[in-house]
């Protein structure tokens, strides 16, 4: 039977990983290379790598890092941020991405999402949806790193994204992002019962038990970012928790793969 996936989300900013809180980036939490090596060994099921740099000039460095990182990643690697063209997707795939994550451009240009799905297959296209609750408690979709409010409700846009060819939804609550109080469970519940494609829950994990709540609300996969960076064997411990509580996850073992010494970072 298909297992629930545990996903680590890495936020890449100018060569380093950063922590995020309500979509603003606070402190740096180390190198992506270390995170990829450790999380691979510590039983992670998938990695989402997002380029959250504000400066477009850093994009070249991101491509360079992706090529190095993908050589050390033997779980699926989804890559997002700054994706606005089919050519960009093609390049990311040749650099070792297995899937791409699109957000702002998918809403601004529906035919782009449609074309990408036709060209690379729905399974390759993850649509990331960032959501904030308005004063009435409605779940509203925001784009451009949470800056621009759209006309879409989370449920409507998720349904539309599936129609246009999304293979998966990466669903983040901006309100919950970095608050360590757990996922927006109502949001997960609404969206995962609307679409027939898998939904990845994101934003707000501060305790392993939040993963349990995410799964019980209907998510096909649960993800976290900040919490994984601060403890030894973090992703394996999260897996241990889920496994011991009877969830259908891949075994929390150490998955050691012998690799050459990792490249030295440019300072």
């Amino acid at each position: 039977m298909l297992k629930t996936r545990l996903i680590a989300c890495l936020l890449w900013r100018n060569g380093m990983l950063v922590q995020s809180m309500g979509f603003s980036h606070t402190n740096s939490v180390g190198s992506a290379c270390t995170a990829i090596d450790f999380f691979n060994t510590w039983a992670i099921d998938e990695i989402v790598l997002l380029d959250v740099t504000r400066n477009p000039d850093d994009r070249e460095k991101f491509h360079h890092d992706l090529k190095e990182l993908s050589k050390r990643c033997f779980v699926p690697l989804a890559v997002g941020g700054w994706i606005t063209s089919l050519e960009e997707i093609r390049v990311l795939l040749t650099e070792g991405a297995d899937k791409v994550v699109m957000n702002t451009e998918a809403i601004r240009n529906e035919s782009f999402l449609q074309d990408a799905s036709r060209k690379f297959g729905a399974q390759c296209i993850v649509v990331s949806i960032d959501v904030r609750c308005d004063e009435k408690g409605e779940h509203i979709v925001y784009i451009d790193r949470g800056k621009e409010r759209t006309k879409w409700s989370a449920v409507e846009w998720a349904r539309r994204a599936q129609e246009l060819g999304a293979g998966e939804i990466f669903l983040t609550s901006i309100d919950a992002d970095g608050n360590r109080k757990g996922y927006d469970l109502e949001l997960i519940n609404l969206v995962s019962h609307t679409v027939s494609i898998p939904v990845i829950a994101s934003g707000g994990v501060g305790d392993w038990k939040h993963f349990r709540e995410g799964i019980e609300s209907g998510a096909s996969a649960i993800s976290a970012a900040n919490i994984f960076h601060y403890s030894e064997q973090s992703t394996k411990k999260a897996k241990d928790f889920l496994f011991d509580n009877g969830f259908n996850v891949r075994k929390p073992e150490f998955y050691n793969i012998l690799l050459p010494r990792r490249p030295v970072y440019r300072v």
Partner: protein, 212 residues
Amino acid sequence: MIAIVDYGMGNLQSVANAVEALGVDFEITNEAKKLQDADGIILPGVGAFGDGMKNLCKLKLVDLLREEIIEKKKPYLGICLGLQFLVDKGYEKGEHEGFGWIKGEVKLMEPDDPKIKVPHMGWNNIEIKKDSEIFKGLKEDPVFYFIHSFSFVLDPEEVDIITSTASHGLEIVASLQKGNIFATQFHPEKSQTAGLLVLKNFIDYCDTNSKC
């Protein structure tokens, strides 16, 4: 040398990264000469069946692959689309011809239970039905990464080539072997230790084969 066929589809680099991690000599190529010289051929791929076949035809690779694999019995490992191409017909966005080396079809997965999500995406157990060289040394109850919406339906007379199955609302073919032809619906290049072992087993098979 192992040739990884480049036909403009999917996660070629991931397959190359995995083969590189095993320390094996490989080339990503679509040149006839290199495919002819290779000890084994890996055809990876994620994407649409029709586009994939169109690209292979355009590069004049379909006949070349038949010659190398069916006539000269060169070891072949098809991954995902590389498995699906083996049949006569695929029904992903219209009807398309496959290689026709194995009797069967590729059809959209339609599980009866509406709670089962398609694409079949994530890690799943495989149930080994028959021993195969590529399973050597695998631990009990192995788990692999799957990502596909279409599945492989074999003609009843071919079912004995199935080496493993997986369950996702319905039983699907997870891998098969017909002589020198190996194929997996799952992605060994993205299935960590178990996956790298499958690739290594295939490469060892190619080595033994080329020395015979």
